[in-house]
Subunit: 235 residues, 2 copies
């Protein structure tokens, strides 16, 4: 388990399954969008790359999505609030998306054999898949502007706890997983409270998007498991 992508060494993910987490809000939004019928999501590192990619895709059914400082990028179709990604808006669409922490985290996992996208919204689906696959997994938290983020560590700990309970044994853990498991135990049953007190949660409230916090705290809202494959995220 890694609390930020910066902790990853060059070959740490080689041949392995990586699980990427950005609870507030990129991976929650990816889960929501795909659960609501979006065909796929292309992550883009920069606003420019997003615009170029959308132009290259050149179809009418492409939506430009993303945020900077939490707010929708000017001129884009959607921001990074999962509540925006309703079936009415995204069903059948291809999305191009650029966010501050989530997109770089997905890019940092490019060297993995498989990349799964996790959030509280699809926690159970992630645990089931990992338990069924039975292979070692590396959980990569997006963090917040290169720093430790409480909500991602909590989600990572809840995945590790779910896996342990499902397998009936402790998964291979490192120092980060040890702390994340302790965090998950303390937060048992009330992730929303913990998301709300995180720096990310507080910032969302400050910019008027406090409702996103409760939305992203809804464990198992969707039983979907997005994967990153050939530069796009899809089910």
């Amino acid at each position: 388990m890694y609390f930020t992508p910066a902790e990853l060494g060059a070959s740490d993910l080689a041949g392995r399954t990586a699980v990427v987490i950005d609870v507030l809000r990129a991976t929650s939004t990816l889960v929501e969008a795909l659960a609501n019928g979006a065909r796929s999501v292309f992550p883009a590192q920069t606003t420019d790359e997003a615009v170029r990619l959308a132009q290259a895709l050149g179809r009418e059914d492409v939506l430009l999505c993303g945020e900077r400082r939490g707010l929708k990028i000017p001129g884009f179709d959607l921001g990074n609030s999962p509540r925006e990604f309703t079936a009415e808006r995204v069903a059948g669409k291809v999305l191009v998306m650029s966010t501050t922490n989530g997109t770089p985290a997905l890019a940092a996992c490019a060297g993995a054999k498989r990349v799964l996208v996790a959030s509280l919204l699809n926690l159970g689906a992630v645990v089931e898949e990992l338990a069924a696959a039975g292979e070692d997994v590396e959980i990569v938290c997006a963090g917040r502007e290169k720093r430790f983020a409480l909500e991602d560590a909590l989600c990572a700990g809840m995945i590790a706890a779910g896996l342990r309970s499902r397998l009936g044994r402790a998964p291979r853990t490192n120092d980060a997983a040890f702390v994340a498991l302790a965090l998950a135990r303390r937060a048992a049953g009330q992730p929303e409270r913990w998301l709300a007190r995180s720096a990310g949660g507080r910032q969302l409230r400050e910019i008027g998007l406090g409702e996103d916090v409760a939305y992203c705290a809804a464990v198992d809202r969707h039983a979907v498991l997005p994967r990153l494959k050939e530069r796009q995220v899809s089910l």
Copy 2:
């Protein structure tokens, strides 16, 4: 609070007091060496730099110290075990020291107004100084090979808890400090047990240096507060 130096932005420490922690073992060893009468310690990033620096200092009372993979660097006088830094060995000496995680962490704090060196061995002295100074402080954990290290987070949390109890109010906290405080609460009174289960503690046992773990877990063994100033650490 930062769980690894990589989380620091370029100007995060400007004008501030930084507290550097590498419990297993660099900052514990610095505290031990200076408490036992070493005159000062020059951190060196590489083995070569350490050797050159020792030559430049050119005195008979210089000791070359440091480790790679936990073991003494071949040809050096001392490794990185605090138990080696007895008064008999180090009193009156100038030390040049290069370690895997501690030295880079000290270097990462170069932009701070003041840099204090903390470990469990001098926990109380650190808390007293910070409480008396009454200024905002940034605690920087060395981590372990660029990753989160349990023992550093625990020590950081114990400093934050001590400061809170001493000031009668919560210090300014971020997500990392929130988790570190929770960790300190869980580990209350038994830091040795937690150091022993950390990746760093396990590695020390594997290379036959398990006794260092208990040594570094001894809270308040020394009432000294080393500071980094003009490229050397001294009292």
